[in-house]
Amino acid sequence: MNPIASELSMNDLNNKFFEIMQDEGVAEEATNFIYESVFDDVTVGFLFEFHHGLKTGLTELIEGEKEEEDVYKIVNSPECDVFGFSILKKTPDSNCSCPNCERPVSATRFAPHLEKCMGMGRNSSRIASRRIASNSREPTSYAGLLSDDEDDADWAGGSLQNERRKRRIKNNNNRKPNKLHNGNSRNNNGNSNSDANDGGATYETMTANEKKNLLLQICGVVSEHTKKLCTRSTRCPQHTEDQRRALRNSVLEPSTPESASMGAAADEAGSPPDSSPSSSCSSSSRKRDRHKAPPKINKRNKEPANRD
């Protein structure tokens, strides 16, 4: 690199600078000079922006024509909200179309509808259990079925071996919320009841007779989302007759090809199954979906890139 084409090198400048700045008067003069230079620069910068806008027509282009504003003026009145609606009057209810079942639903009752419609919810299982229990003709014999798998005392016992062959679905405990973000180790608010599986029935733990009785009363189709039985009537509109027939075929008749082959698979795998309940059940594609790992957030993040 060639030396700088100037009378002074950087080093000379530095030395000279400290020498000159020894003098207080000079230092003050220099301070004023710097201040004025910066001030001038900033001022000129503002003027350039203004001049550029005017000369190129950009200011005119951006400003355009102001929209009529009066219609949007905030209403200042203690009886009204900002739009001028009375705070005492209830808003008129409207209907919305449910994205799940496409039926019109009153907007103010949409959330409870959707919860049931999607066959999910913290309480839907509890409601379902209650309904199963109360509809049952032999309540005592069902009581055990409504408990959690985890504390199912019969799990390792031999009495259920036969039933296990026909097992199609598994109501497991994977309903824990995907807690992704730490920084809060555990958020403890408002949902203490969410994690516990509060009792969904499964066909696998019922005897043939029990299943038959139950399916005379309820729709019984297994929800894709919650893996629970639909507890609506046998003519419930959410599931089709075909679904109900298929369910009954596979649950009530062990000789159907599907259930037979699954039983064989379970035998090959060897029984009794190991201690982990979920690993022993025949895995359906649905079940795999539910084991998807929550997406991982990447570490570190800074300012956004220049948005232009």
Binding site: M1, A5, M10, L13, S37, D40, G45, E49, K55, T56, L61, E63, G64, E65, E67, E69, V71, Y72, K73, I74, D81, V82, F83, F85, T91, C98, P99, A107, T108, R109, F110, A111, H113, L114, E115, M118, M120, G121, K176, H181, N182, G183, N184, N187, N188, G190, N191, H225, I297, N298, K299, R300, N301, K302, E303, P304, A305, N306, R307, D308
Partner: protein, 488 residues
């Protein structure tokens, strides 16, 4: 708009191209390298009078430096050179036209150099006013009406219908809609989606919501599609009963974050292994955890991303006190020994959490709901929170500096010039008891202009009222934004 320079500049460009401008600009206006800064520092003096001003210019024809106080004019007369670059901003003065003239091509060179200059100095990109491109200019000319958002307009405000205990959702939606940078992103139509029109993308749904909020319509909105989308993609949220606003907020960010990827090519998804979707750009910070072995003083550091900070409210009376406690070193005690990789043994240790990187929106969750095996209760303790918050004391860099005792000296710790000020822009409140509660939100529409959102009811609020409220979720937005360089 007319930014085609003038006849004299165009003739010059036809003869010599833009290179003379590029060189003058890169060396004496926006120095794009260290060498250039040395040149500029030592040589920007008027060749005629030897002074550094006023208003230095360089002749574009022969690289002759002169001040505006008569010497460029003299040079122009003597040499018949008409074009002069001002050395502060890089604008071109034409002595024939007797005015500064603006040329799109040169303006773009100047902007590019300014980015490079910032990058070479390691500083954030300076403010540059918006310059519409040809299409944008055409659109501006065709559509003349301008919608202005002022402190007295209802535009940007909208009530939200309660769909049956869905106030938790309404509050979070109001907060997101009033997040300044998110608003800019969506109103700037930055979300380009492959799943557009399928109704399956939550980001598209939020994008539509912004249009609704700024449409000027006054009737409450029904967010049934939004609720359905969120429940579909965050199944653990399940039922609506006793829904928690904080849980909903985090789940919503998660679904948005996942859906942001809809419009992005696989190759651009990750930059340096980190997600750069708008949600992560705005909401993700880095939480540093330092575990120090009490025997060997060895430090084990991990950094985890976070979207919000949950704070215990029992005890401290202010947000700052909560944060102070959150970032205080904590002795883990003899019951919780951790294996020290240095000592190769289980040792007692201290653990300290600090903020390694700050998100643009800092979200605080005051843990007002306590659940234990014995009792569930709500803690209504008063916690004051400021309208303006400086996060510097809770940063990893600052904490480290305090520990070694240099913070009080003039030895500025690294990052002392960073601006970590935040402004409150939304507060979600929970009213009532655990089982029968209601959520409302205060949102800031613009500086000093606050509104209370109670489902479909939007009313004016004062800052005092906001600061006096109980506070469950507090949202702060970075006051000064810094932009990273993206130099082509």
């Amino acid at each position: 708009m007319n930014d085609n320079g003038c006849i004299h500049l165009n003739n010059f460009k036809a003869a010599k191209g833009t290179n003379p401008y590029k060189i003058v600009h890169a060396f004496f206006v926006s120095c794009t390298s260290f060498e250039a800064r040395r040149y500029k520092a030592t040589s920007c003096l008027c060749f005629a009078c030897g002074q550094p001003g006023p208003r230095m210019h360089s002749c574009l024809h022969c690289i002759y430096f002169a001040c505006y106080a008569g010497h460029i004019q003299e040079h122009s007369k003597a040499k018949k050179h008409f074009l002069y670059v001002d050395l502060s901003y890089g604008n071109v003065f034409c002595t024939q036209c007797k005015d500064y003239i603006y040329d799109r091509e040169l303006t773009e060179i100047a902007m590019n150099h300014r980015l490079k200059e910032a990058k070479s100095l390691g500083i954030s990109v300076p403010f540059m006013p918006w310059l519409p491109n040809t299409n944008e200019a055409l659109a501006l000319r065709r559509l003349r009406k301008r919608r202005l958002i002022g402190p007295h307009t209802t535009i940007g405000l909208r009530g939200l219908q309660n769909l049956g205990s869905t106030c938790f959702m309404n509050c979070i939606v109001q907060t997101l809609i009033h997040t300044p940078l998110l608003r800019d992103y969506f109103l700037g139509e930055k979300h380009k989606c492959k799943a557009q029109g399928t109704g399956k993308c939550l980001v598209c749904e939020v994008s539509k919501l912004f249009q609704e909020f700024y449409s000027g319509a006054k009737t409450p909105l029904t967010l049934h599609r939004l609720l359905h989308l969120i429940w579909t993609h965050a199944r653990h949220l399940a039922g609506y009963e006793q829904q928690d606003a904080h849980e909903f907020f985090i789940a919503t960010l998660d679904v948005l974050h996942r859906h942001c990827m809809n419009g992005v090519e696989d190759t651009e998804k990750k930059e340096n292994g980190r997600c750069n979707c708008i949600i992560d750009q705005i909401f993700t910070g880095g939480l540093q955890s330092d575990v120090v072995c009490t025997s060997c003083s060895g430090v084990s550091t991990t950094i985890d991303p976070f979207w919000d900070i949950s704070l215990d409210v029992a005890g401290p009376g202010s947000l700052q006190a909560c944060l102070e406690r959150f970032t205080r070193a904590e002795h883990l005690g003899s019951a919780a020994k951790i294996k020290c990789s240095n000592c190769r043994a289980y040792r007692e240790s201290t653990k300290q959490l600090t903020l390694e990187t700050l998100p643009i929106v800092a979200s605080f969750h005051l843990k007002r709901f306590e659940h234990s095996s014995q009792i569930d209760r709500k803690i209504s303790a008063f916690v004051s929170f400021p309208a303006e918050l400086d996060m510097t004391p809770f940063m990893s860099t600052h904490r480290r500096a305090v520990d070694v005792g240099v913070a009080d000296n003039n030895n500025a710790p690294e990052g002392i010039f960073e601006d970590n000020r935040y402004s409150l822009f939304a507060v979600v409140n929970h009213l009532g008891s655990l089982d029968a509660g209601h959520y409302t939100a205060y949102v800031r529409q613009m500086k000093g202009s606050w509104f209370k959102c109670d489902d479909h009811m939007i009313t004016r609020a004062s800052l005092r009222e906001v600061l006096d409220s109980e506070g469950y979720l507090l949202f702060y937005h970075k006051t000064v934004l810094e932009y990273e360089c993206e130099v082509s």
